[in-house]
Symmetry: C2
Subunit: 235 residues, 2 copies
């Protein structure tokens, strides 16, 4: 936790907040904080700044807050991601938030196991939990916008063309394609397939929606490695 992220409900005045639960435990056990300590804080979807620890008890802490810095800019990116297996989903949600993705679309694909859709980690509040961990890690306050699309075809046919229009629109896919471009200016739409990759029909559908296939070399990377690798190359 490199940033203590405060939510609306934590504030008892404009410059005063109370902490309980997970973040308080973290202050006690990891930060080993003491009264008078200065901490980096941010307000969810707001500014970042400093807090001074006024009071620290087993069950509650009180902070004075001064917020004056804007969070880092988001990546102007819509990331389409085939739903990964639950354990990987949690880590990827953290990575996506940490790296500053603006909009994440979790999408079905032929090679997504049906059981992955049953996971409790796809519930909005569970997704939000992981995104917040990512923001706390990287020091950001703005939650990515996450949408879940359980049906590939209607999304790709009916809505993706508008999302991709006017952006650098790419689908990452191993094969005889041009290498993924570097240091793109402007908005990007990027589709990353499941373990095992998109099936040819899906690549054709994504191409018809305006996405260009690009590859990242001969090596087959796990999705959780491919996501930071592709983002670091594109931006």
């Amino acid at each position: 936790m490199n940033l203590l992220l405060l939510e609306e409900d934590d504030f008892v005045a404009a410059d005063r907040a109370l902490l309980r639960g997970r973040r308080l435990t973290h202050l006690h056990e990891v930060h080993r904080a003491a009264v008078g300590d200065q901490l980096r804080v941010g307000r969810l979807d707001g500014l970042m700044g400093r807090a001074i620890l006024l009071r620290l008890e087993a069950g509650e802490a009180e902070l004075t807050i001064e917020l004056d810095q804007p969070p880092p800019a988001k990546l102007p990116l819509t990331l389409l991601l085939a739903v990964p297996r639950p354990k990987m989903l949690k880590r990827i949600l953290q990575t996506v938030a940490a790296m500053g993705v603006e909009h994440l679309v979790l999408i079905n694909s032929f090679r997504v196991e049906k059981s992955f859709w049953q996971t409790p980690f796809l519930a909005p509040e569970k997704i939000r939990e992981q995104l917040i961990l990512g923001l706390e890690q990287s020091r950001d306050t703005h939650l990515p916008h996450v949408t879940v699309e359980k049906r590939f075809k209607p999304f790709v046919e009916d809505r993706l063309p508008q999302l991709a229009a006017g952006t650098t629109a790419l689908v990452a896919h191993p094969g005889p394609f041009p290498p993924c471009p570097r240091a793109i200016e402007g908005r990007v739409t990027l589709a990353i397939g499941p373990e095992g990759g998109w099936i040819p029909y899906e690549v054709e559908m994504l191409q018809a929606a305006g996405l260009t296939p690009v590859q990242l070399g001969e090596r087959i990377l796990r999705v959780e490695t491919a996501v930071p690798a592709l983002l670091a190359r594109l931006f």
Copy 2:
């Protein structure tokens, strides 16, 4: 497992191998392989190619092997990595092997918890297990060379200058440094610190050994995210 990686001991003839244990279980349970199936195989530190499954039993499988393709080129990189926590170490070793790092130096740092050095995952055979999982993932046959340096100062003072000489030598560190360069030609030496980063004294020592500090933006990334991000940007 996108590549079935065979070792010396698996071969019973130049073109014939027997499988048992983990890889056989994987053939049964994940690949659901059947006699006559063709599989992608590689020989550790050798060529890659195809195998035909001749015989498949509960406790053993027999394959004919034809090897004719070179593995992908390694990244001309010496990666110095402060020892991460055990759970992360396993994943990072897989990532390092999957991405094709040639030489990994696991090194001590002030912010590496002493307990991390007690983990059984630093034993050479445990490191090798994780590297092989990475090679199987990305389809490579050449193990990265891994060295473990428990003492920061003598390594950085006495041996790093020679390792770094004639390479693009960088230390990743948040701060007022130039951005990490892109698409480097030639050999690279890259140092990545622990969670919490290098301490200033360590950055000075690394600079004295010839490394230039570079940064990857305001966001603080976890080491397992920073590794693929930096590698994808550099190569």
